[in-house]
């Protein structure tokens, strides 16, 4: 593993008014690593993702993204940094008046202003990669939740980002589609050596594809470990969470 992490948090806090959501978070994700954040609802997982993806500024502490200290980053350099990031939003966040192909093409057409022929080829490849080769002409309202997520996935990876963020990538999906998304995350991390930060409630999926799992509660990581370690020696709070999940998953 490289000595320069793709993502680094040092004593990061985040408060909204008087409510402290993130409370002294330390984190380092290496290039090509899949780091999954799990934890109860309302514990700061999505806020952590937004902090790491430059959407929110921390109240205190240091965040380094791909070697750049966000506090020292001039606003004019932010779009250039964001070009190297990909983000899969929980809802997909596709524009309703554009087709799936047009949505996937957005960064290439709107930001990079590539020639249409080049865009078409790359969009076709990206859609094929997520199994939507024949669905590019459909609108978001015409497709299932799984197809929508996969189209959003294609949009997130079309620029070959070095750091990818996934906010509940499998929420609302059936187990088969969840496995497909899990596989895509694994594939993108391994094939392109992209660092993936995943926030999810799907513990079974996380145990399958994560390199490390971080358990967040009360704005702090209670345990950061490989899936094997987490199962072998779980923190008491993690153990309770695992048990609750196991009960939930039992038919």
């Amino acid at each position: 593993m490289s000595s320069d992490p793709a993502l680094l948090f040092r004593a990061v806090t985040k408060a909204f008014g008087t409510r402290r959501v993130i409370d002294g978070l330390d984190l380092a994700a290496e290039p090509g690593e899949i780091l999954v954040i799990i934890g109860p609802s309302g514990t700061g997982k999505s806020v952590t993702l937004k902090l790491a993806s430059t959407q929110l500024a921390p109240t205190s502490g240091t965040i380094r993204v791909l070697g750049r200290d966000l506090a020292a980053l001039p606003p004019r350099d932010l779009p250039a940094l964001r070009r190297r990031l990909g983000y899969l939003f929980q809802s997909g966040a596709l524009l309703g008046w554009k087709t799936l192909a047009e949505n996937v093409a957005l960064p290439l057409a709107e930001r990079d202003r590539l020639p249409p022929a080049q865009i078409e080829g790359r969009v076709r490849d990206a859609l094929a990669e997520v199994g939507l080769a024949d669905s590019g002409d459909l609108y978001p309202a015409e497709v299932s939740g799984g197809m929508l997520k996969r189209a959003a996935f294609a949009r997130a990876i079309i620029e070959n980002p070095e750091l990818l963020f996934f906010d509940e990538p499998t929420s609302g999906l059936d187990p088969v589609m969840s496995r497909t998304i899990d596989r895509l995350i694994q594939q993108i991390a391994r094939a392109r050596r992209a660092t993936c930060l995943v926030v999810t409630h799907d513990l079974a999926g996380a145990l399958r594809y994560a390199d490390r799992i971080a358990f967040l509660k009360g704005g702090r990581f209670l345990q950061v470990a490989t899936p094997a370690e987490l199962l072998r020696r779980p923190h008491p709070e993690v153990q309770a969470f695992l048990k609750a999940q196991a009960v939930e998953d039992t038919p």
Partner: protein, 261 residues
């Protein structure tokens, strides 16, 4: 610039922050004019917005303008008939519509029909994280979403205002002919005699400024939307109320600037 931001605590600070955001948004969108010429997609969206604003408001504007002209014609006719000065109806209608009522009515119609829709659309996009997605892709939401809307509104508002005035004159002339025994062409002739070039250009300028105010307010309110569907509803209502206030207050100061100083 990031427009999907955290709420500002306190009472006065959020108001000032919102005013500052709206003014900044208007400035950035006005400065984004070159994008309409340089970028085919922005231009296409601008043309689409022209259609939405113009055609979408035309039916309402027609009915409102025609009946406003008829009501004004009737009321003024009743008043002026006491002094046997029925023709003054045409003069008064010309002044009222070109200077104030035309742009004012157009502003109100646009705020209600178009501004509310802008706030709702951008609000929905904000709560669905579509605006955040644009920012994450390095696409400027102001250039992508606001520039075409603001410029389309700025171009279309004066045209609609002129159309509203013409329809109101026709409505007034109709009442003049049927109720006050003023020949139709004589009424229109009197309207044109009373109309001054300054009234026309100030009225059109006023409508254009209203277009900027309505679109900037509606887009800023839309971007500031939080809390799901209820938030979108609240934003829509807020955008309409703030636009009405801006039209009234702005209208007063524009009139004062051009006719008092």
């Amino acid at each position: 610039m990031t427009f999907t931001r955290e709420p500002t605590p306190g009472r006065i600070a959020p108001l000032l922050a919102a005013l500052g955001r709206t003014a900044t948004l208007a400035g950035l969108a006005l400065a984004g004019l070159p994008a309409l010429f340089a970028r085919r997609d922005t231009r296409a969206d601008f043309l689409r917005q022209l259609y939405v604003i113009g055609i979408g408001s035309l039916a309402v504007a027609t009915v409102v303008a025609l009946f406003t002209g008829m009501i004004l014609g009737l009321q003024l006719g009743i008043a002026f008939r006491q002094f046997s000065q029925e023709l003054m109806v045409a003069f008064t209608l010309s002044y009222a519509m070109l200077r104030e009522m035309g742009p004012f009515m157009t502003g109100i119609i646009l705020a209600a029909c178009v501004g509310s829709a802008m706030a709702a659309q951008l609000g929905t996009m904000t709560v669905n994280e579509e605006v955040a997605a644009l920012e994450m892709m390095g696409i400027d939401p102001v250039r992508f979403l606001v520039v075409p809307r603001l410029w389309a509104m700025t171009v279309m508002a004066p045209l609609l205002s002129f159309y509203t005035c013409v329809l109101a004159f026709l409505g007034g002339a109709l009442v003049g002919y049927t109720q006050l025994n003023i020949p139709f062409l004589q009424f229109i002739g009197q309207v044109l005699d009373a109309a001054e070039v300054k009234d026309l250009y100030v009225g059109l300028l006023k409508a254009a400024i209203f277009g900027v105010l309505i679109s900037a307010i509606s887009c800023a309110v839309g971007f500031a939307t939080t809390q799901g569907a209820a938030g979108v509803g609240a934003s829509t209502r807020r955008a309409v109320i703030l636009s009405f206030l801006a039209i009234l207050i702005g209208g007063y100061f524009i009139t004062r600037f051009f006719y008092v100083f």
